[in-house]
Amino acid sequence: MSAEIAVPLDPSLAGPAPKRIIVGYGFWIFLLSDIVMFSAFFATYAVLAGATAGGPTGAQLFHRTIVAIETACLLFSSFACGMMSLAVGARNRFATYLGGAATFGLGAAFLGLELNEFAGMIAIGATPQRSAFLSAFFTLVGCHGAHVAVGLLWLAVMMAQIAAKGFRETVLRRLLCFSLFWHALDIIWVALFTIVYLMGGRG
């Protein structure tokens, strides 16, 4: 029995953390800064929510059923992303592709519904130019949608990298960062549907 196994190591003496830890921590800091940026858009929206300038209000524009479907799409996409992470952890290539495809499909469905909602609003004249409320709405929700679009592109690239390179260290770290990004987007959507659609859509 060697002593080094029995005695727990002091974390401060354990040497530098593995790269996986450092990369995850760095990406977590980036995500928090992204959330701080979103908080500015949320503050703008909250200040301008009543400034409709005689134009349509949130209660007239928002369809709660569509928002509920969007929310379900993004939540199950987040869950599928978790399943993909587990498949990556088990080094199961087929399950990883399956999880990735489900994540992508549900994310794309969310984006499609959101773009359809935007198109419907613009068609009845509720454009970003109409009022301060609509400017803030399109900035906030559009910024989240842009993040989702970038995430979908990232996911497609990661699937291609698994196909081309397999489960090597660099690919595993990128997959960890992607799953963090995707879950963080779902957290932002929770704040978004609560503040914009549920609170703003009331009578």
């Binding site: 995850g24 959330i35 908080s39």
Partner: protein, 131 residues
């Protein structure tokens, strides 16, 4: 691996070690998270739509449900916990939450204050009453 038990990256699964057991416990965590998230989301949409609740209290209830759901996502999906191996991640999160709170609450406070102080009174807008 000693390093794995000392440090944990955000998004890492709770248990390292045996791969099969890790997958099963990870699956359980994701399923619990999904169940709680569905429950909280459904409650939010129900509370916003129903007339059974006292209406002025609904926004506060919605805010509480949203914060609870964000906590569920953080713990079960992002695996940010209060364990000793997660101190750095939690500290960064706490700082982020502080900044978000300052930006949102500060903006609302200042803008509401400006709105109240810059409001024109009828005397200021009515030319007949000006001296």
């Amino acid at each position: 691996m000693t390093a794995d038990t000392q440090d944990r990256a955000p998004g890492d699964d709770a248990s390292a070690g045996d791969r099969h057991a890790a997958t099963l416990s990870g699956l359980l965590a994701y399923l619990i998270g999904l169940g709680l998230a569905i429950l909280l989301t459904a409650t939010s949409f129900w509370a916003a739509s129903t007339n059974l609740l006292w209406q002025p209290g609904v926004p506060i209830g919605l805010a509480v449900l949203a914060v609870a759901q964000m906590g569920v996502h953080l713990v079960f999906f992002l695996h940010i916990t209060t364990g000793p191996d997660n101190t750095n991640n939690v500290l960064a999160l706490a700082f982020g939450v502080l900044i978000v709170f300052l930006v949102v609450a500060g903006s609302l406070w200042i803008m509401a204050n400006l709105n109240a102080n810059m409001m024109l009174t009828p005397e200021m807008t009515n030319p007949q009453l000006q001296h």
